[in-house]
């Protein structure tokens, strides 16, 4: 059910995005940083599901809060003539890789366990024979 929601949401989002009016190039850097922040939240969410610490409130607040905060930081950086968005991107991408590492390790362990159990089952069956 959640997967269906994700697929349907993605399709609707893609449709809206394609048909939406083109925004000015000036705001593209803000939008890009918001996307990075949102993606970081998504991977964080998946990692927290794996770790069984998932909380919808934390996920949603992180999803929108991080995006908005990243945009605000970028604006502040432009006002101060400091490229703060670079720091934000570094942090977000670093966290994305950390979360991806967690997810990968979880699935690799899961699959190795499965293969191991399959093999042991086979051995047991052979032994029984």
């Amino acid at each position: 059910m959640v997967i269906v929601a994700i697929i349907v949401g993605c399709l609707i989002g893609a449709f809206i995005g394609i048909n939406a009016p083109t925004i000015s190039y000036t705001y593209s850097s803000y939008l890009a940083i918001a996307i990075i922040a949102a993606l970081d939240s998504v991977f964080g969410g998946i990692a927290s599901v794996i770790n069984k610490k998932f909380d919808i409130k934390i996920f949603i607040s992180g999803f929108f809060g991080n995006a908005i905060l990243a945009i605000l930081l970028t604006i502040l950086g432009q006002k101060l003539n400091v490229d703060i968005y670079l720091a934000a991107i570094v942090v977000f991408v670093w966290r994305m890789f950390m979360n991806l590492g967690t997810i990968r390790r979880y699935y690799v362990e899961k699959w190795t366990n499965k293969i191991k159990s399959l093999k042991s089952n086979k051995d047991n069956k052979q032994a029984e024979k």
Binding site: G9, I12, G13, I23, L31, A34, A38, F59
Partner: protein, 234 residues
């Protein structure tokens, strides 16, 4: 059980909304990045614009410098040309003056016209080149600026000679009676020099020749129409 289901529905909806938001923004960004031309002025970042501006400024300054130097050169050429025309004008003016003095141009001015009609029955017979020479000399003395005999301009190399005691030649051209001598100069000086007692004209008149002296404010004297050669002057 019901509580769990309710929680799951809200979770689904919330995640769906999050997905919608994320993909919408992503696709908007994709579309925008695809559509924008990175070299267009409107979409450039401030730093890029700044460097571009500096470049153009440099180019502009360079071009301006070039333009100024070319302008200065042009000005120089113009001045040179101007001075050259001035010189040319000056030379032309001098040439005109010299021509005027040499008798190479037609001239006009106040003066007198003397008409000598030979009277073959006069005591001393014909008018000779000596008479004409004398008259011309007298005119010169009286300040004549241009003289002609029968439309032959008298210049410094003009000859007035008698050939075979009959023919009078001026500028190697035969002339016949009546002799019309024109002179440009101060009218009263010329006239008094001509008609004064004891003058050449007076003498001829007394000898019986028909002589007339007229004043004219517009005496026209033609130019010397031969070449002023200088084959032997070194």
């Amino acid at each position: 059980m019901k509580h769990i289901k309710k929680g799951k529905i809200t979770l689904t909806i919330v995640i769906g909304i999050a997905c919608i938001a994320l993909t919408t923004v992503m696709f908007m960004q994709f579309k925008m990045v695809n559509q924008t031309d990175i070299d267009e002025l409107e979409v450039m970042r401030e730093e890029e614009l700044r460097t571009e501006l500096a470049e153009w400024k440099n180019k502009y300054e360079e071009a301006e410098n070039q333009y100024n130097s070319q302008l200065a050169k042009l000005e120089e050429y113009n001045q040179k040309e101007e001075s050259e025309t001035e010189t040319a004008e000056l030379v032309q003016k001098e040439l005109d003056e010299v021509n005027l003095l040499l008798g190479k141009t037609d001239v006009e001015g106040e003066g007198i016209i003397i008409t000598l009609k030979e009277n073959s029955e006069a005591e001393s017979g014909i008018i000779t080149s000596d008479n004409l020479n004398m008259i011309v000399n007298n005119l010169k003395e009286a300040g004549a600026e241009a003289i002609s005999i029968n439309e032959q301009r008298i210049v410094n190399m003009s000859d007035i000679v008698t050939v075979n005691d009959v023919i009078i030649r001026v500028n190697q051209q035969r002339i016949l009676t009546p002799y019309i001598i024109k002179a440009i100069g101060n009218q009263s000086y010329l006239e008094s020099a001509m008609s004064g007692n004891g003058s050449e004209v007076d003498k001829l008149q007394k000898l019986g020749h028909d002589i007339k002296i007229e004043k004219d404010n517009k005496v026209q004297i033609p130019k010397y129409d031969k070449d002023l050669k200088s084959d032997y002057i070194e």
